[in-house]
Subunit: 132 residues, 2 copies
């Protein structure tokens, strides 16, 4: 009887693992990844960074489908930024473009951005142990 119980528990655990494994894989397949390579007008750099941070923090806080915003600058060219964005799926990405905070960011920064290259990307590995 004890063995039977353990057997059932193992089966249940196995099914749960399969379920979550399936969920994770499906989620990964739907992820939308974008790389933005941006050059900012040096005179506007501080203003741009402020607007960017506000836009990112709001998106991360209020949009469940906005999964990652990694924004970095090049040490030798602080006006050269790379932003790596990950969305849960296409709907989450489209919905982000319609938010008030994204539109505010775009309007505020329009004249600060000297060039913008947007690249559609897809994950090979996305691993992080950083705490938020």
């Amino acid at each position: 009887m004890i063995i039977k119980k353990i057997g059932l528990r193992s089966l249940a655990a196995g099914l749960l693992t399969l379920f979550f494994w399936g969920t994770t894989s499906a989620q990964d397949k739907n992820l939308v990844v974008r790389i933005a390579r941006i050059v900012i007008d040096s005179a506007q750099l501080e203003n741009y960074r402020t607007a960017l941070k506000e836009g990112i923090e709001t998106a991360m806080r209020v949009e469940p489908g906005v999964l990652t915003f990694y924004a970095v600058y090049e040490k030798n060219n602080p006006t050269h930024l790379t932003i790596l964005e990950v969305y849960a799926n296409t709907d989450a990405y489209k919905s982000h473009l319609e938010t008030a905070h994204f539109k505010k960011y775009k309007t505020t920064t329009r004249d600060m951005v000297k060039s913008l290259e947007l690249v559609d990307a897809a994950p090979i590995e996305l691993l992080s142990k950083m705490k938020q």
Copy 2:
């Protein structure tokens, strides 16, 4: 007396907040961020991806100071990769370069890499809610 207690609690909470804020800022200041822009020989792409994934997964598992490896490819140019790496500090980065798994990755992939651009970067925002 109750007010005095609440006052002390608030003070303690405030000091704790300051302490953790300070810790976080200090940690962020030490972070080492690298962007690698890599072009792979198309005939070797699958082999390269296998070697890269093995190197990343080992580094993330065995090196506490390796905080993030985000490796993505461009959808329109699958041989064009961007890897964003975050290390806890300079020592963690230097120690990573000396590991057996990193050396194995470098040796294995030497003839698969057509070009490699390494960029020293620094964080503006690094926010993610993805589960590992």
